[in-house]
């Protein structure tokens, strides 16, 4: 078990080095990449099964005792996030191989593996400073990936992305310094007891500073402006994995820090307000856009609001709903971006006024788009409906009607902008100046996307067991003793 906790992070780091050396042989890189991400996935499954059976687990790197050394710790929430992320990383890697993204740039594989390591470490880490390091590993990898082609547009948007994230990272170092000055520790389990001795004002300040830092990564209102600008310019598989995972790492950090370090007795008005505004402003942005990837990027922002809504309620049901929503969102959002990428690949553009009539020419693509699109909008019986229903129920149970009403309205607007893509790209007459011979999407791209779409259907189909699992994860988050005991013994 303790080895399994290291593996999801250590395997990709080691493989990244090997992949760098073997840059000349793309086949070696491909086999290595797929094998290692599969290995990380297997280790993540072992972690998930282990924590489901025995409760939260921890391991101390180099046997340095807990508050001093580097601690890796996993509870159910960690396990769920690890498994879902690794499945996505694997599917998108296969898609990228199908699209030959790695043939165009030989640093793709090593950097992608580092991204996987950074994501795994930020889920597993048990102390704040290590979380900072994990964020930096995955961010530096993402800086390289988002500017991979080095085109003018990529450099421009990449610059915004890097600068905003660097400012957030600096604030994170500052927050770590303040936490250490106030308590003398950065270990999160140790902080649980030590933060109680800190004066209320200082504790609130630390909590808000961390919320801002993670909020920039998670793209919550009003810190989301960088996201719709920078994501769409990267190659499709990269945008897809960023859309699915990176903001959710931020959300994970928000949920972890708010539940573990700064738990609220009842619903938190600040978080609920942020949630409502994030949902609403994000979807309004999406309605104004004309490009498939940009519409979907604004939807990421909008969807983050739902997750914060679940957290803001600070009830078991709310947290369970939020975790279920994250799982649903990662799967659905990644598949939507992958389909968007295939549209761009086959038609040569993602602009809605240059597309049309794709239902006839590419019926499979249309189906692969329709399922996640309806799911995103929360139409029954898809996974989005299950996730939104559990959040709405949790909201009603906590008597927070206003924010639930906003979330339902946003669901309607989401459906509206999804029909915009549908009507623009898939229905209607093809534009007159369209290329007569559209390319076919390679089998690997279609296969990877179809697998993820099938997975989103599985989430809806097994909604009952899934909800039990997330409810148990939420219970572990709310009751902090097991987590603290796993780390400090």
């Amino acid at each position: 078990m303790s080895v399994a906790l290291f593996l999801p992070m250590v395997l990709p780091v080691l493989a990244a080095g090997v992949s760098m050396v073997t840059a000349r042989w793309v086949t070696v890189q491909r086999v290595l990449g797929v094998a290692v991400v599969s290995g990380s996935l297997a280790a993540s499954v072992v972690v998930l099964v282990g924590v489901d059976r025995d409760g939260p687990q921890s391991v101390q790197a180099g046997n340095w005792p807990a508050p001093f050394g580097i601690t890796l710790v996993a509870d159910l929430f960690t396990g769920i996030m690890l498994v879902v992320s690794m499945v996505m990383l694997l599917a998108v890697l296969v898609y990228a191989i199908g699209q030959n993204t790695d043939r165009d740039s030989r640093v793709f594989h090593p950097v992608y593996l580092l991204l996987a390591a950074g994501v795994a470490l930020s889920f597993l880490t048990g102390d704040l400073f290590n979380l900072f390091v994990a964020f930096e590993v995955l961010l530096i990898a993402s800086y390289v990936l988002i500017t991979l082609g080095g085109t003018r547009e990529q450099v421009r948007s990449g610059m915004t992305y890097i600068v905003i994230n660097l400012v957030a990272s600096t604030l994170f170092v500052t927050a770590v310094a303040i936490v250490y000055a106030a308590t003398g520790t950065v270990n999160m389990a140790d902080l649980v007891t030590k933060l109680d001795t800190v004066p209320g004002g200082l504790s609130t300040a630390i909590g808000l500073l961390l919320l801002v830092v993670f909020g920039v990564k998670a793209a919550i209102f009003p810190l989301f402006f960088w996201l719709p600008d920078s994501y769409p310019t990267a190659p499709s598989p990269i945008t897809a994995i960023f859309a699915g995972l990176l903001t959710k790492v931020g959300v994970y950090a928000i949920i972890r820090s708010q539940t573990l370090l700064f738990p609220s007795k009842g619903p938190d008005a600040l978080l609920l307000t942020i949630a409502g505004l994030t949902m609403f402003v994000g979807v309004l942005g999406a309605i104004a856009q004309n490009d498939i990837k940009r519409i979907l990027s604004f939807h990421i922002v909008s969807q983050i609001g739902y997750m914060i809504l679940g957290l803001g309620l600070f009830t078991i049901a709310g947290l369970a709903g939020a975790i279920l929503y994250i799982v649903h969102h990662i799967i659905v959002k990644t598949s939507l971006f992958l389909v968007g990428g295939m549209v761009e690949h086959t038609e040569g553009t993602g602009l809605l006024d240059r597309l049309g009539g794709m239902t006839r020419r590419a019926p499979l693509l249309a189906v692969l788009f329709l399922i996640p699109a309806l799911s995103l909008a929360g139409v029954p019986p898809f996974s989005g409906f299950v996730a939104k229903l559990s959040l709405a129920q949790a909201g009603f149970a906590a008597d927070r009607y206003a924010v639930v009403a906003v979330s339902l309205l946003v669901g309607l607007l989401t459906l509206f902008s999804m029909t915009k893509i549908w009507a623009g790209a898939f229905w209607g007459p093809p534009p007159e100046d369209a290329a007569p011979t559209a390319k076919r999407a390679p089998a690997l791209m279609v296969g990877a996307t179809a697998t993820i779409v099938a997975l989103s259907l599985a989430v809806a189909l097994f909604a009952g067991p899934m909800f039990h699992l997330t409810e148990e994860a939420a219970r572990q988050l709310a009751d902090r003793t097991a987590y603290v005991q796993a780390v400090l013994g």
Binding site: F129, Y143, V155, V163, L166, T174, A177, Y180, D229, Q289
Partner: protein, 122 residues
């Protein structure tokens, strides 16, 4: 001594914030470097009185805390690496555009134009 450090951190943060808000890429990068120096210095100041050795020799009561020093080393390396990458990107931007300014988002400008058009039509 700690007051000097605190004032330095404050000055670095204010200068850094001012520079990051500029349009010019070089200034933004220098601003980010100053900001991260401010953060690192703050982390170092947390470790206790300046001048005391960490761990080596003497009475444990006189040690300065080695943990923040280890953390600050990591943070320095990270900010160094990222700054170098940013400089490379700024050079790339210069070779592509022959200008050192941060550009507007094309799509944003298009949508802003649509809004103005609509207002004029009304």
């Amino acid at each position: 001594m700690i007051v000097v450090l605190a004032v330095t951190v404050g000055v670095l943060f204010s200068l850094g914030t001012y520079l990051v808000l500029q349009r010019n890429l070089t200034r933004i990068i220098i601003g980010l470097a100053l900001l991260s120096h401010g953060g690192n210095l703050l982390l170092l100041a947390v470790g206790g009185k300046a001048g005391d050795p960490p761990v080596v020799g003497g009475d444990p009561a006189d040690f300065s805390d080695p943990l923040p020093q280890a953390m600050v080393l990591t943070a320095i390396v990270i900010s160094f690496g990222v700054t170098v990458f940013l400089l490379a990107l700024a050079y790339r931007s210069w070779t592509l555009n022959r200008s050192d300014d941060v550009e507007d988002d094309v799509e944003d400008r298009r949508i802003a134009r649509l809004g103005i058009q609509e207002q004029e039509e009304q």
